[in-house]
Symmetry: C2
Subunit: 222 residues, 2 copies
Amino acid sequence: MTQRLTHTEENYLKAIYKANEKTKSAVNTNTIAAYMNTSAASVTDMMKKLANKELIIYERYKGARLSPTGSKTATSVIRKHRLWETFLVQKLGFSWEEVHEIAEELEHINSDELITKLDEYLGFPKYDPHGDPIPSADGKFMLREQMILSQLNIAESGILVGVKNHETSFLSHLNKLNIALGSSILIKERSDFDKSLKVSVSEGADVVLTDMVAKNLLIRKS
Amino acid sequence: MTQRLTHTEENYLKAIYKANEKTKSAVNTNTIAAYMNTSAASVTDMMKKLANKELIIYERYKGARLSPTGSKTATSVIRKHRLWETFLVQKLGFSWEEVHEIAEELEHINSDELITKLDEYLGFPKYDPHGDPIPSADGKFMLREQMILSQLNIAESGILVGVKNHETSFLSHLNKLNIALGSSILIKERSDFDKSLKVSVSEGADVVLTDMVAKNLLIRKS
DNA sequence: ATATATTTTTAGACAAGACTAAAAATATTT
DNA sequence: AAATATTTTTAGTCTTGTCTAAAAATATAT
Ligand SMILES: [Mn+2]
Ligand SMILES: [Mn+2]
Ligand SMILES: [Mn+2]
Ligand SMILES: [Mn+2]
């Protein structure tokens, strides 16, 4: 008997889920406010509502964590988001930096049948266009061995499997550098001064990556 | 500078558009209330808001009609609705009676680029799975010569090009009778008593259609 | 341990979209 | 032309999701 939630409620649950992925412990009001780009007061209001609906466990001044139901809902919204992003890129020909905003709306369309059929139509993809794992219908994520590009040593190389930053500006920057999911990146030099890297992308010409960029690239060592 | 509208506002504009298609003159408060399944008071409230935003021309006690901007918006929502329905049937394998509810949500997704790409992906379809014309990006509809099945005489036949009723129960009824868009329907007998028809569908076995059904079938004489 | 700073909650308001009940305007009968 | 019926609007409330300003709780610094 899954209750019908508003877009806003779903977005709050997703925010708590994502914040909780990092911190592991209960999520602060201010953290959620930052994620949701709203005021702390609004967050407190919503926490009471979500707690009433038993979607979160919330204690005044202590923060919130998802209940099993809340967690299931959040995962389902993430699943929908990532399946739609995959559709937009693979079928409609969007570029990976264009799809997040649209998927933010599509993720709230309410139809299990639709998602089942979309998943099948896409061939049951396991990762979205940013390399993020797509949870299965029962909420399980495909785990993957991965590390951050900055952690590689000189002469080591990796395959890009994901990005930590999803902003359009960052993804467009990668486009310009000819870096995409699946690109092979070989470390050639590291500056002692600013940690910037000279790398070769897929055996092509050398390019320079700032540490800022390198920290946001997830690779599988190759 | 098209203002961003809520789902509700878009639905009201669509309701006025559809009601106006039939009556041609200004649309009554009660008519809109029936379309929107809401109270007359709520409609009056909304009429004031839409008039303020110059999406409709509204006069107290006289009813509403769409402004050029309102008409453009309504047409665009209908275009999105019908393109999504086409996607659901042609690409995801839904049946024609399953798609309306889902399209009611999808029609509010806000991205011109998305609709342009979806249209292209579907091969620029001119009619949706119910035979309704899909307006072009600039709001033009493909006109078509059509008539109601009931108007045919004995021994005449037609190709089903559309349905006037979109309810799931009606469409499922047609499924059972093996009637689909493109079916050829030949009139064999008409009852004087209740106007029910004996017809043969695509050269198959005879079936009986009540006048209620026949009135909702749009055909091209063949 | 006390003072100060930060975080979080409460209080009070507002806009959107809905409702019911009552009043006002318009339409239809007689 | 009245009387009656129907339609539409107004008035007053409610819920959701938001806000600002002030109060309360917790954390940090002295
Ligand atoms: Mn995204
Ligand atoms: Mn993504
Ligand atoms: Mn429809
Ligand atoms: Mn349709």
